[in-house]
């Protein structure tokens, strides 16, 4: 009888899986928890738990960067996470998303533009050579001399110099508040500069860092194997003998691997997965809040001619019900956000945005004035929740007379239509990394600075000015005020419309793994506290 029930459950589950992507309107409440077991933590590794086993983690896709394994060229959160196992940064982010010491044990700010870092004296690259101030200077200088995506996030660095044994001073040309937070991400990792300069190491092909792990094998899109870096200060206390990262594209397969024990931890994409795993008593699924957020692009340059009208764009913006997206797509685990991620200090309050009133009568009137609208809405298939968000938007916009047809595309096609010049879409959904400082993501609202958005949005000098003000203002009321103005103006212009935060769904096998996972994350690094994990 029990077996029959299980088979019935299996059949029902497959039916549910098949329906995923078209069930937003009736999505069940997720079984994933965001309950903290300690302040700031979804899980805290039990130091008494069995250790020394092989840790197996399943993720949905691999790194894929034109720069190979060079951390400075890492442009996606997945690369930051995987390469972050091998590399360390001067600063890091704690469980409260605050900047904390990393390879720099402390720092002093003599002025708004001068940072003096004291370096850790026990940092050693995995080849056994101790890290020096020259490695720090060389790494930052390399990032500036060879501009990549992260160079812009680093801010206006005027100079970087070794100013003593184990001391480095960085001078900015103007105040830039996110500087310490920008140093915390993998692209700002400290590299073995003398080995790179001598040609001993090709950093695009081989990773050599001071991090807790060393990559011993990698087959692209298949598997990574990491072993402990015996020179790392935490090496003796590491709670596992090796780490295998399996790349498993299918969500149901990752969920099955958690259930049958072939994976200790897996990254999931859909809140539905948590519901599917409720029958597995030794699997826990948790929702990690991210500062990342989903947003809607309204193409005012290459889209429907009516979208050049700010009033029409605002009507679309104001008709979208963020609360419904949060409830139906994320089971209530996310939150509405403005341009500055709502979970970060000084960020704007989405409830104060002009569109928050959802004046549907005014929105309908604006759409009626242009004789109704038929728009396409592009989503890419790699991120299943986008289709679900699109369905909610489709229903919201139908209420004001906008007929939306959803187009689900593979990412290459999506990318070609959204970012090429001329762009070819009316509406499109995507997400931004929110990082750990509210000013960092605001840059993308300036087409002049971001570049990629110039094919579908115009921006404005006023918005650019507020972006600059927000980046240079010190934390506190003035900065909060600048962000509030920035969020409001971007909301009125409605070219890129923030929707809701984008959480990470993480499942792990409680029988084989005792992990430490923070409640919030800013750089998509689910494995940030890997040195605390214990796998039996």
């Amino acid at each position: 009888m029990r077996k029959r029930t299980r088979i019935g459950v299996a059949i029902g589950t497959v039916a549910l899986l098949t329906a995923t992507g078209c069930s937003a309107a009736s999505a069940p409440a997720p079984a994933a928890t965001s309950e903290e077991v300690a302040p700031g933590f979804l899980a805290v590794a039990d130091s008494a738990a069995p250790a020394g086993g092989e840790l197996v983690v399943q993720v949905d896709y691999d790194t894929a960067e034109a720069s190979g394994l060079d951390p400075q060229g890492a442009a996606t959160a997945r690369s930051w996470m995987l390469e972050g196992l091998v590399y360390e940064t001067l600063t890091t982010i704690d469980e409260n998303l605050e900047v904390a010491p990393g390879l720099a044990t402390s720092w002093e700010t003599a002025s708004d533009t001068e940072y003096v870092f004291t370096l850790a004296d026990d940092a050693v690259f995995s080849n056994g050579r101790a890290m020096t101030a020259d490695d720090v200077v060389g790494s930052i200088q390399r990032l500036i001399d060879n501009p990549v995506t992260w160079t812009g996030q680093l801010g206006p660095v005027a100079s970087v110099a070794a100013t003593g044994a184990g001391e480095v001073t960085v001078t900015l040309s103007e105040p830039y508040t996110p500087f310490l937070a920008a140093l915390a991400n993998t692209p700002a990792a400290i590299l073995p500069m003398s080995e790179i300069a001598s040609g001993e190491v090709d950093i695009t092909q081989e990773m050599l860092g001071t991090g807790p792990l060393v990559a011993s094998a990698h087959r692209q899109d298949e598997q990574w194997t990491f072993v402990p870096n015996e020179h790392h200060p935490d090496a003796a206390d590491l709670g596992f003998s090796s780490l295998t990262i399996d790349i498993v594209g299918d969500e149901a397969t990752r969920a099955a691997a958690l259930r049958d024990g072939s994976a200790d931890l897996a990254i999931l994409n859909s809140t539905d997965s948590a519901a599917l795993l409720t029958s597995a008593s030794d699997v826990r699924v948790a929702t990690q809040r991210n500062t990342d957020f989903h947003y809607l692009m309204i193409n005012s340059i290459g889209g429907d001619p009516a979208l050049t009208d700010e009033g029409v764009r605002f009507a679309i913006n104001s008709a979208i019900d963020r609360a419904t997206i949060n409830d139906l797509v994320f089971g209530g685990s996310a939150s509405a956000s403005g341009v500055t991620p709502v979970s970060l200090p000084d960020s704007c309050d989405p409830a104060d945005l002009p569109s928050a009133d959802r004046d549907l009568a005014a929105a309908t009137s604006a759409i009626d004035a242009v004789g109704g609208l038929e728009l396409d809405l592009l989503v890419y298939t790699d991120e299943p929740v986008l289709a679900q968000i699109a369905q909610v938007i489709q229903q919201n916009l139908a209420e004001i007379g906008v007929d939306v047809s959803i187009e689900q595309l593979d990412y290459a096609t999506y990318s070609g239509r959204v970012y090429s010049d001329p762009s070819d879409f009316d509406l499109a959904l995507s997400w931004f990394a929110g990082y750990a400082d509210p000013a960092m993501v605001t840059t993308w609202w300036s087409p002049a600075l971001a570049g990629f958005s110039s094919v579908y949005m115009s921006g404005s000098p006023e918005l650019d000015e507020l972006i600059a003000t927000g980046a240079s203002a010190q934390p506190g009321d003035d900065r909060a005020d600048a962000f509030a103005q920035l969020c409001s103006l971007a909301d009125e212009q409605s070219e890129m419309v923030p929707l809701v935060l984008r959480p990470s769904i993480i499942g792990w096998n409680t029988g084989s793994l005792s992990p430490s996972i923070s409640s919030d994350e800013g750089y998509g690094d689910v494995l940030r506290r890997i040195t605390e994990f214990r796998a039996g």
Binding site: A75, G249, A252, T413, G416
Partner: protein
């Protein structure tokens, strides 16, 4: 027409087809929307970074030059390098082809052992309930989508155990037991459809032969059913059955995308699937060309074998009707 001349014409036709297919593959891949630089560099990259990536991957050369460079490479055994991993495509094929070939070979054996007898039984009892049941099962097997069956098996196996795991793949050289264990579920999923297709085609082929005058005459002469099958049906039904089996071999060897993706088996299908998503041209071109070559070769072999079994095909250009 002599056997040798007929065979040479078939080989020549296969070569011409292959050249045409190579042009089509190259053109199709380049016509796909979106390109590799957008994907691996992301929207935040600068124009200089894009230009550098394009130059590094050789995509800045004229398209015709790129084609001939590719074909020249293929003829010398150089299938190019992945844009993403910079690993030789030949090297990846060497690791992945045996996985897919093993799945395909075992699936074909299972298909032949179950599908052909099932088709014969269904045809010989076409008037009864057994024949109807065979027809129904074949229809079900053909219509059952692979992804649905695969998803069901993934969940069932992870819930019920059964001694299998969806995440247990290991190369043959590392652990033969885990290697074959990881292939069981993909083979089961593929076999369901293949058995159904072969059983259905075998049934139709046998029924077509059974109504031939010479078979009717044998029945009138009072020959036993076994004798009729052995002497009159087997040989005549072989050509259409061979054709469908040949097509299945080609499809299976070309890549079993869905099952490899769902069961996380690193074969040709999953390799191609990932490459398609990234517009990794060298991999896509090589994998599709390989699939086309296998298909053309399988069709050629089927033609030659069918001709050996039934010389009348030579006179009618391959078709008896």
């Amino acid at each position: 027409m002599t056997v040798i001349l007929w065979s040479l014409r078939r080989v020549l036709a296969a070569l011409v087809t292959l050249i045409g297919v190579s042009v089509l593959i190259f053109a199709s891949v380049r016509l796909m929307p979106g390109d590799y630089t957008d994907l691996v560099l992301g929207p935040l990259a600068t124009e200089a970074q894009r230009a550098q990536a394009v130059a590094a991957s050789g995509l800045d050369a004229p398209i015709v030059e790129q084609y001939f460079r590719w074909v020249g490479g293929v003829l010398t055994g150089d299938l190019g390098y992945s844009f993403v991993s910079n690993v030789s495509v030949s090297e990846e094929f060497a690791a992945r082809l045996p996985v897919t070939a093993t799945i395909a070979a075992i699936t074909i054996v299972v298909t032949l052992v179950i599908g052909i007898p099932l088709g014969f039984a269904s045809a010989l009892r076409s008037g009864g309930s057994a024949g109807a049941a065979g027809k129904l099962l074949s229809a079900l097997g053909i219509s059952l989508p692979e992804f649905l069956l695969a998803g069901l098996l993934v969940f069932a196996v992870s819930t019920l155990g059964l001694g299998l795991s969806v995440g247990q793949f290991a190369p043959f050289a590392v652990d033969p037991g885990r290697f074959f264990g990881s292939l069981v579920l993909p083979i089961v999923v593929l076999s369901v459809g293949c058995v159904a297709v072969v059983a259905r085609n075998t049934r139709d082929a046998v029924l077509n032969v059974l109504v031939e005058p010479h078979v009717q005459a044998a029945v009138a002469r009072g020959e036993t059913p076994l004798s009729i099958v052995r002497h009159h049906v087997l040989r005549n039904a072989a050509a259409p059955i061979l054709t469908i089996v040949g097509a299945l071999v080609a499809v299976l060897l070309g890549g079993t995308v869905i099952v490899e993706f769902v069961f996380n088996v690193p074969g040709m299908g999953s390799y191609l699937q990932t490459a398609l998503g990234r517009r990794d041209y060298a991999i896509i071109q090589a994998a599709v060309l390989l699939a086309a070559m296998v298909f053309i070769l399988a069709a050629l072999v089927v033609d030659l074998v069918s001709n050996a079994l039934d010389p009348r095909l030579r006179l009618t250009g391959g078709s008896r009707r």
